[in-house]
Amino acid sequence: MSSDNQSSNDVLREEVRQWLAENWRPEIARTLSQEQYGWETSETRKAWLANVVESRWAVPRWPQQWYGRDLSDEQGKIVEREFAAVRAPGAGQDRINLWANTLLAGGSQALKEKLLAPLLKSEVNMCLLYSEPGAGSDLAGIRTRADRQGDHYVINGQKVWTSGAAVADYGMLIARTDWDVPKHRGISFFFCPMKQPGIEVRPLRQITDESHFNEVFITDVIVPVENLLGELNTGWQVLNMALAYERSSMGESARGPRSGVAESRNEEPLVALAREARVLAEPKLRQDIAQAISYKRLNALNSARAKADLEQGTSSSIMSLGKLAMSRILHEEARVRTEILGAQSLFEGEHYPRAEDANFLTLNAYFTSIGGGTDQIQRNIIGERVLGLPKEPEVDKTVPFRDVRTS
């Protein structure tokens, strides 16, 4: 690193610090730290984010033209670190804001002018309209259609596994725009306005008896042509870019128990549970517990190695393992919890919070092993993209979508 760089970095750091000192006032910090995270964004948060965006700290790596400062990645990190040091939100969106990055990369001038700033300021709510009942593992098999009529597209179809659809202003939607070419080549990517009559949102009841997701029925929904991202029929590429943002963040966290039973910060949850259930001395359980904990620790070590590799500029093959690893961690932890509880696991409800946890986690583990690409799909991806193993023969790769077999 040249000393020129070094000194300009110092200048930048100082500038951020000073701006934060002036703007990140104690009362804002206090209000935001006490907020519950949910679909609705508070006014205080919106105001703060607006300030961050207008001061060009939200997306400093982006071009000047779009609220940015044309900073290098390294300089972007400096900004993020200063924000993180005082726990101020809003920076680093050029790295993590899925919606804004997708829009910047693929949106029309008009759409960017209209939505980039609101997205960065969390003034609009978004949802994902990708999966369909008939297109789960095979996302390119979607049958929702978009037909051009004058200066807009008319969308018809059905989406599923959508979270936040009821409060969303826009959905990132993939729809088929050409039925006479192979499946990957006839898909387009839209920002679909959600507040219109043709959108019907029905909550989906999960096996955990929760409803985090919706089915969305789409009937004659209107999307202006400027809401098309990328070129017509290149939606598969836009989608894959957007998915890359998502995947890179999976495998690092997952929901824990929902019982609300306080867990010791100092002890592994499985150890604490076994201690409480007075079975911590059982040799077979001890082996199972050690193994389950090791899966979690090993995944954390893998993630740390992947991050270190990335920071050194080498791309890491380990990153893609996180989701598969997490699936094993969650299923195995739920299994061992059940083993620890024995007959207690028959129960549920407020008097049996430990059983509630074990049963919930058993079912919720499928959220990871199925959702966002099943373990089986994930193993395909790892085998093909990481290990370079050949793909299977694809029977529908060159067939016009119209002629592809469906359920």
Binding site: G342, L346, N359, I370, V395
Partner: protein
């Protein structure tokens, strides 16, 4: 499946009329007079249909316990009602620990004013909330003894336990000086309990085997019809090989359950070995099949409307009901002389 009262009275009546409830009751007492082999076969159907009824509680555990205790008077009074389904009986054998050995007995009986009175807290009582007749094993000054009490008797309080599997009914039952009739056992009371529990385990094994087979059936069917990437998903090795492994699990479960049933029917010397093998093999097979079945379905089975999760819940419940698979593996090894 799931109903408010825990079972459907009309269904219960049909089962009774078909002779299913009285399968192990002698013909002289209004039963079908057949045995464990036929019971196991019926339970495979019960497992496949996720049937929710007091069959296991009343027609299996209670009926077999009465038979094994061998008190002619009590049997002649109760068994015909049980077989006819007009009376629902259940057994109180353990307490909060859910320990199914002699040490697990938590009720005590003592003579007060010339009659027996029961006190203490029982738990894990199958269909306790639906039972008319309670068969209670209790510690007394004279050792372990068995009693009959009416669920409506004074001093009985029954609390439904909140089960994760809503098709399973369990209750905690407290006894506070409840008047009860002592059953005059012709032999060891605990030996009679063991015979009843062995039959219950065989019935449960049949339910598990039948449940596993059903899950495999509808999963394979789905794999034949669901198209992804232009192919039936069952043509992918990931799915096909899981299915092949599950077939091995389910066929082994069926073999184990039927074998244990036939050993009971023959009253064979190594019946306990066969029962414990069936107990853990069928429990593990049902849990694995139900769990993998969800994975093989993908997203659709993550929805409440799809039946797959009901089978997983039943499988998990069955695997804990009368001792965990680990407990039965240990028992199996002991039966093998190790």
């Amino acid at each position: 499946m799931e109903t408010e009262s825990g079972y459907d009275p009309d269904l219960w009546r049909s089962l009774s009329e078909m002779g299913v409830v009285g399968l192990v009751v002698d013909e002289a007492q209004g039963g079908s007079g057949v045995g464990p082999v036929e019971l196991e076969a019926v339970m495979e159907e019960v497992g496949a249909a996720l049937l929710c009824s007091p069959l296991l509680a009343s027609g299996v555990v209670a009926a077999e316990l009465l038979k094994a205790l061998g008190d002619k008077g009590v049997s002649e009074r109760l068994l015909p009602e049980i077989a006819a389904g007009t009376s629902i009986a259940t057994a109180v054998l353990t307490g909060d620990s859910g320990c199914w050995t002699e040490e697990g007995v938590t009720i005590t009986g003592e003579i007060q004013d010339g009659g027996w009175q029961l006190s203490g807290d029982g738990s894990y009582v199958l269909h306790g909330q639906n039972a008319d007749v309670l068969l209670v094993v209790a510690n007394t000054d004279e050792g372990l003894a068995a009693f009959v009490a009416a669920s409506s008797a004074e001093g009985v309080s029954i609390e439904a336990l909140p089960t994760f599997d809503h098709t399973l009914r369990l209750a905690g039952i407290s006894f506070d000086g409840v008047e009860a009739d002592r059953i005059e056992a012709s032999g060891s009371v605990w030996e009679a309990v063991r015979r009843a529990m062995d039959l219950a385990l065989v019935a449960l094994a049949g339910e598990q085997a039948g449940g596993a087979q059903k899950v495999l059936d509808f999963t394979v069917e789905y794999a034949k019809t669901r198209i992804q990437f232009g192919r039936q998903i069952g043509s992918f090795q990931a799915i096909k090989h899981m299915a092949a492994n599950l077939l091995l699990e389910t066929e082994s479960a069926i073999s184990a359950a039927r074998h244990a049933a036939s050993r009971l029917a023959q009253d064979s010397e190594n019946r306990a070995e066969a029962v414990s093998l069936a107990a853990f093999a069928c429990a593990d097979a049902f849990v694995k099949t139900a769990a993998d079945g969800i994975q093989m379905h993908g997203g659709i089975a993550f929805t409440w409307e799809h039946p797959a999760h009901l089978y997983l819940k039943r499988a998990r419940a069955d695997a804990q009901l009368f001792g965990t698979p680990a407990y039965h593996r240990e028992r199996y090894l002991q039966e093998l002389g190790a």
